[in-house]
Amino acid sequence: MKISLNWLKQYVDTTLPPKEVARRLTMAGSEVKGQQVIGENWEGIVVGRITAVNAHPNADRLTLVTIDLGGSEETVVCGAPNVAVDTKVAYAPVGARLINPNTGEQETLKSAKIRGVVSSGMACSEKELGISEDHTGILVLSDEAEVGRPLADYLGDVIFNMDITPNRPDCLSMIGLAREIAALTGQTVHLPDASYEEVEPSVESQVSVEITAPDLCPRYCASLITGISIGESPRWMQERLISYGMRPINNIVDVTNFVMLEYGQPLHSFDYEKLSGRKIIVHRASEGEEMVSLDGIERTLAGNMLVIADAERAVALAGVMGGANSEVTEETTSILLESASFNPRSIHYTGRILNMPSEACMRFERGISPELTLPAIKRATQLIAELGGGQVARGIIDVYPGRVEPQPLAITTEEVKRVLGVEFNREQIEATLSSLGFECQAGSSASEVLATAPYWRSDISIPVDLVEEVARVIGYDEIPTTMLNTPIPQQSPAPVIELKRKLGESLTGYGFHEIVTNPLVNLEMLNRLYPESHSASPAPIKLANPISIMHEYLRPNLRVGLMAALVTNRRIGGPVRFYELGKVYLPQLDDLPEEVEMLCGVLSGLRDEPSWQNASSSLGEAAPFSFFDAKGIVEGLLTGLGVPSSYELSTDETLHPLKQAAIVTDGGQVGIVGELHPAVLEGFDIPGPVQFFEISLPALLPFIHGHRMFQPIPRFPAMLRDVALVVDVGTAYQQIVNIMRGFPLVEQVALFDVYSGDQVPPGKKSLACRITYQSPDHTLTDEEVNRVQKRILDKLSRDLGATLRS
């Protein structure tokens, strides 16, 4: 919201610099986000009066304009169509800084000969002065401007760009902000004189008002002004509206807008002659009722919207927009002026459903006091009569079914201290509240004040609201800074957070970058995870109002996000290691979805960075990551967490059918590891191969034990035996290990070679293992180990048909 400081100063005196006014307003809740100084560069530019306009000897379109500057006169060449004797203008001498209307850049005015005549300075347009974009003619000043005075004294201004919080509709007005400044600087507010003369017959004898929906319209005031003529509003009023960013229309519309900005109360003017039956009825619209609004659009109304009707039809959408059928036009001579109070929620609903945001709507929906209607209508009536030259019918119609008597709120010094942590005495509290217009009385105890909020403070409803008033006016800076000194509440464990932290530590240590992707995903991309092109099951959770189809569904897994990250980084040459730790969302009937924390990671590209130590990498022989890289990561992670794992056949469609495994702990599957299916990669246009792993945190958590038991470090030496076994290619290494580990003294089995080829029979492979034998209580002998090893080999031969490689 743009607020002219000059305009504000009509209602409150302040000598503080604008920056300080802005600071105090900001600290107290009405934020000034920026300031624009108008007239900063107007040095030398003064107010002048045109004393003569003569034809240019050499050009039809140009005139020679003589300007009185109060003590001296200058003649300038002017091309503007609106020069006239006795008008007051802004005169810029040679050397003044002006905006070049063609380039928008600031330039210094130079002496110039225009078609043979020397122009000593110029009369300026609004655009040249930087006030607006208008360059159709010169700026015409109002008659009040004093000849010879610097233009900056008269038009110079500071515009505050303000952010008003939604609880303070009163601050969406000059008077409201003036009241704030007055309270914050120890000044008083001057309200405009709104008196005017009235004539018979009374307004009541000429129009009636009825409210049939008092819940949506607590108060309706109306006045009648006859015999007016529509025309332009005066320059001073136009300047005010322009400073706020509003376009002047005509004297009636401008007055209603001006008073809305001045008092904060939206008003509406009807052409009285167009109201059928001389009647206003405020009622709910009929469902499906149609009305053409002022902007010429036909609106279909709903039954819970409020309309203003005459005897026959709706003539306005209450608080939102007028109807075309009762619009004020150039021919209008009588105005019925409306100043009413409407239910904020109803206005918000109507404005939202019909998509008609407006300045009026914005004020009504924040909840303006019904008490404001009367002062505002008086002021607007006065201005319409004054500017339109009309007569005001005696009285104001005031239908007020929703009157609520203001109730005092009690505030004690103890309560202030309990909330703020600092003591203010009763006098300070009273003085502060009084400065804001509250009426204060002594309460039932020495520490209590009974405060009644002024009508414009519709936001005050409970005692703690008063505490805030005291705090913000005295200043938050007066509140001390203390550390919490109440006992720290008992802490309960947060195992998921702990697990996430550990996983992150391990993975970044392995060289992984953590990524974070948007859980709102595209369905088509989700389906691309399935090479057989069927849909994800169960169906993912859908948004009712997605912003785009790219973000329409909540992810049921983390895979899509990783795919997107791989696509983004596909030009990176070296190894890419990514993981994401985040939630997936699984639908549940009539309840919020189950949100499951998952870990998902990918390895893509070459295993090693090209490096000189590693000659093969520079010779183009570098190997890409394989399934066993991903598996090694998973094994490392789980070992780090103290969770034993085994790997079983799995059938995940997104993964290569032969290069995938379920990650299993005693209780069951906790995740999956594998190479992404080439068809899936192709669908995403990602160069392969890509290795992948996925672990469910809730599945894994039960296996992470808080305490692990210490095993004594072996005191007796171990004995190592290498054995190369020949088995069927279909035999799993895990089967061999399981058998070996089933024997006593076998402490560890490590695989150090895998071979298939010429050296072994077709259909066979050779696995070379190193078995570590150890006893906790004695040093092993060769015979002892030989005995065990023989039994192992026998069992391997029996169960798996394994033979020793010769």
Binding site: T26, A28, G29, E31, K33, G34, Q35, T165, P166, R345, H348, E365, R418, L420, G421, V422, V464, V467, R472, Y476, P480, T482, M483, L484, T486, I488, P489, Q491, S492, A494, R501, G511, H513, E514, V516, T517, N518, P519, L520, I541, L543, A544, N545, P546, H551, L554, A565, N569, V576, R577, K583, D590, D591, L592, P593, E595, D608, E609, W612, Q613
Partner: protein, 350 residues
């Protein structure tokens, strides 16, 4: 003399690597490390040099001497035990011929996402002040996200938080499912689920239906805090938040605590830090010299009451922080979209 040294080193190494039998090592030693070797000559010749040259050349000559000695040791080892092994492993350092500026063997470096780093740092600050992490759902009922926090339907306070609604999700109570717009919703759950004293933080993803630009996204992170106990005051809130600002932004950063409005607090607070770019003068990055960091206040009595906590007995404060803004300010990241584009060239930097 310098070049002479380097040539010598290269030549000596080449010859050493060609040696395949232990018996040939001795003649190499005599040639390169013996008393009459070229190296010894060079060392003796140093006396004729200027003090400056003597220093640099002398240092290098000694380096060369120890490199050659080390090479000899290694070679001796290799030949002694490796006579059966066919391929002899070449040592990096030997291959580098003393050029210690060659890059080391690469180890991959991974990083936590900048938002995770920030959350970790924030958690650490707040947990050290006794706050505990409390979790809540991202898909939330409108009641907890709005009504419980004094944000009723058809109220302008909802307009700032345009909402994503979940398709056809209604609870038996008639509540509607949405993507939470603020982690404050978790506070609404906490006052209902917990008994005072409460001192928690909650953080995670939030969502708003709005156009994406350099400072807005449809998905972003919030961190909220809540403390409820007897005797908690706004002075404590100020202390807690100043401590946070001090630890995150540093000792000497000016902090501003001003009145603001949030429906679920009264009195309401906005905290800002001084703009580092203009030092409070006002510039395009800031508002009049200040950068808003967070919103806070004393929890509104109605919010406590709805959760079954008596506001006449307990007082409470709450705060909410937009997470991305912190690393943006600290590292000068000018576009929030970078956080979720997951470009390695970005992730590697922070």
């Amino acid at each position: 003399m310098r070049e002479q040294l380097e040539e010598l080193l290269t030549k000596a190494r080449r010859e050493l690597s060609a040696i395949s039998e232990v018996k040939d090592l001795e003649s190499w030693r005599v040639r390169y490390l013996g008393r009459k070797s070229e190296l010894t000559n060079i060392l003796r010749g140093l006396a004729g040099l200027s003090l400056e040259e003597r220093k640099t050349v002398g240092a290098r000559a000694n380096e060369v001497k120890s490199l050659l000695a080390e090479g000899l040791n290694q070679k001796t080892e290799e030949l002694k035990k490796g006579s059966t092994q066919k391929s002899v492993r070449v040592d990096d350092a030997l291959l580098a011929m003393g050029d210690i500026t060659l890059p080391g063997r690469p180890y991959p470096v991974g990083r936590l996402h900048p938002v995770t780093q920030t959350l970790n740092e924030m958690s650490e600050i707040f947990t050290s002040m006794g706050f505990q992490v409390f979790d809540g759902p991202e898909v939330e009922w409108d009641y907890y996200n709005f009504e419980a926090l004094n944000i009723p339907e058809e109220h302008p306070t909802r307009d700032d938080q345009s909402t994503f609604w979940v398709d056809q999700l209604t609870s038996p109570k008639g509540w509607k499912g949405l993507l939470r717009t603020q982690t404050t919703a978790v506070s609404a759950r906490a006052v209902e689920a917990m008994e005072p004293p409460i001192r928690i933080i909650e953080f995670g993803k939030c969502y708003r239906y709005e156009a994406t630009d350099a400072t807005h996204g449809i998905m972003f992170y919030h961190l909220d805090g809540l403390a409820v106990d007897r005797g908690i005051t706004m002075a404590d809130l100020k202390g807690t938040l100043y401590e946070f600002a001090r630890r995150y932004f540093g000792e000497d950063r000016k902090v501003r605590f001003r009145c603001d409005f949030f429906p679920f607090v009264e009195p309401g607070v906005e905290m800002a830090i001084e703009c580092a770019l203009c030092h409070g003068e006002g510039c395009s990055l800031c508002d009049e010299g200040w950068l808003e960091i967070l919103g806070a206040g004393m929890t509104h009595p109605d919010v406590l009451r709805r959760g079954g906590i008596d506001p006449d007995v307990y007082t409470s404060f709450a705060f909410g922080i937009g997470v991305e803004r912190l690393p943006m300010l600290r590292y000068g990241v000018d576009d929030m979209r970078l956080f979720y584009a997951n470009d390695l060239r970005f992730l590697r930097q922070l």
